[in-house]
Symmetry: C2
Subunit: 370 residues, 2 copies
């Protein structure tokens, strides 16, 4: 009888976690890792196109693997799709989160952090959100491109160390939310991945819009380079019910006649793009929050790794004002201004990523999206 009673107690405890993952999340945040209860998980390709070579394929004369090359007559290539891995927790919330990585990254951005802690994938599963992790077209597992490219093996990591605001090589910024253990930087650099075809924002928008056609309403979470195509995808597809954007680049979309002047940066000029007013107005219909981290100076800087973010943050503020003047709901959070310090460009995997996740959760709760 005692043993039986004991079993029932264990069962109830497990059920509590099973039916209320937010309780489990709290447990995890205090250092005890509860299991994830996944109702469904899997992967698929979505969107993309097909190219064909004229002619007729003959399986006898063209059917041998030849390391020297392929005889393409009559053959096809399916490419330019996105590749998606998804997990739906038990008792999932209504809207899933669709995570879209930035430049030189893959879905890995949202998985385990470079120092080995849980990333946004697990954190938000514990908060009972369904999660969809994208490899955008011509990147990672979605590598088949309809256009050729050459991948150089050019050493460039010290450049990214600066642009990703870990520091100014070889020094980390003081108080940066990034572990200085050498293995962390090793993991961080190794999560980069090159384009396997020419970068094309329109190709990416098309594939991610197809994803929202497939899964229905959800919340888009962008990072860095996916910020710009993220706005365009929301214009194209009203299944996107909100956008959370981590450090988007400078390509905020303005209505014609309302864009700020072009800005000169070392090596390039940034011209904020414009769209038709009818398209722009779509962005006023959904709540949007934009986060920027630390070590973004207020005054122009000689350090290009900081200067580009100073400029992008300025454009972001101008854009917020334009969208909100047209009836929109854009919030910009510059984290140091609310007392959160040391964040790099990779806020979602920084040492304080649970605090960043909390900020995002509160936004979703406030907007009734949880």
């Amino acid at each position: 009888m005692n043993i039986k009673f004991g079993k029932i107690v264990v069962a109830l405890t497990l059920t509590f976690c099973g039916l209320s993952l937010s309780a489990c999340a709290v447990t995890q945040r205090s250092g005890i890792s509860a299991p994830l209860v996944i109702q469904e998980q899997g992967s698929f390709s979505v969107g993309g196109t097909v190219i064909s070579e004229p002619g007729t394929f003959d399986p006898i004369t063209q059917g041998a693997y030849n390391p020297a090359g392929v005889s393409p007559a009559g053959q096809t290539l399916h490419g330019d799709h996105a590749s998606v891995f998804y997990q739906i927790p038990e008792n999932a919330r209504k809207f899933p989160l669709v995570f879209w990585h930035g430049h030189g990254q893959t879905a890995k951005t949202w998985e385990t952090t470079p120092d080995g802690r849980e990333g946004f994938q697990n954190i938000f599963l514990r908060e009972r959100y369904g999660v969809y992790l994208i490899d955008q077209p011509r990147r990672g597992r979605a590598a088949r491109s309809t256009e050729a490219t050459t991948i150089t093996a050019t050493p460039d990591e010290q450049l990214w160390f600066g642009i990703f605001r870990l520091g100014a090589w070889p020094n980390f910024y003081e108080g940066v939310q990034f572990s200085k253990a050498p293995e962390t930087l090793n993991q961080f650099f190794r999560q980069m991945a090159p384009n396997t075809g020419p970068y094309n924002a329109e190709v990416n928008v098309a594939a991610v819009s197809e994803l929202f056609n497939k899964i229905g309403k959800g919340i888009l979470v962008t990072h860095s380079q996916s910020g710009g195509p993220g706005w365009r995808t929301a214009i194209k597809n009203d299944n996107i019910r909100a956008i959370v954007s981590f450090e988007p680049g400078g390509d905020f979309l303005f209505p014609e006649g309302e864009a700020p002047e072009s800005i000169k940066l070392a090596g390039r000029t940034v011209t904020p793009p414009t769209v038709l007013m009818a398209d722009f107005m779509r962005l006023t219909k959904i709540p949007i929050i934009v986060f920027y981290g630390d070590n973004i100076p207020k005054q122009p800087s000689q350090n290009p790794g900081q200067e580009q973010w100073r400029v992008f943050l300025e454009v972001a503020k101008t854009w917020r004002d334009v969208v909100n003047r047209h009836g929109g709901d854009v919030t910009i959070v510059h984290l140091p201004e609310i007392g959160i310090h040391g964040n790099t460009h990779f806020l979602m995997s920084d040492l304080n990523n649970l605090e960043i996740a909390d900020q995002m959760s509160r936004f979703l709760e406030k907007k009734g999206l949880n």
Copy 2:
């Protein structure tokens, strides 16, 4: 009271699944999908190397992103690692399964099947195995290569339709275990991914051996092109306690002086490689099972998509005899000979993949590895 009693019954049911996933697997196999209970999941890079450009990096003059190119002086590139996603279920069995994809594939090989059913990732999680899914160096999310390459966008899918033994384009083989719904072929083609650097088996062996150094003892599961480097990894690392190989290519390792003659195939010559006897003997110390599917002819065929597998199966049988003569434990299962028909080169995602998984489970049980 009644309501409370009901809750307790629900709790007990969940617990039964939680503590005994094999019972859940049985449920799933009869069509009712029980949740997966994941104790831990995450991802990391492993192995690889670092190349450096001479000079000193200056974050001011070299720190700007320039679409026209990178100034590499003093910079590094971390590449040639494997990228690994893992999931450990609650109450996991002793040895995890390490899944290594084949030519033109990624970890996706083991995930959702092209027709949308569960792949080996989920099937073996339900059997309480930990699973590690590899993207090998220079592929998928492990795309950073220390050597440059050009990726052509050459249409070649009708070639692979034949080599992967779905049929002889445009016809499927009769009774093939592959759904003829057009979306299935669309998904199948889109799971291909090109090399992002020159293919190098030694680079792959090094990274996968490092994975076994990191995770300890486990079972290696290879497919097609990873078969050859799989044998070499087992020679290098005795944490590999068994190998399950699905349709390995012709590069079985023989001791010097005991290899069969070179074989001519359309477009190339296959020469079974040899290794030192001391290395070869490592392969006699672990149980190995090799599976081949259907539509492999007994007599030489004009159809190269079939002929290469006829030759590889012949080499496989010769190799089995040599390993077993030296005291090894190699089993070759040609599935049609045990009454399992219609399998393509992708046995793990074929329509009867649960039956194939059962064959693999029985082997692991028989060898005391479960």
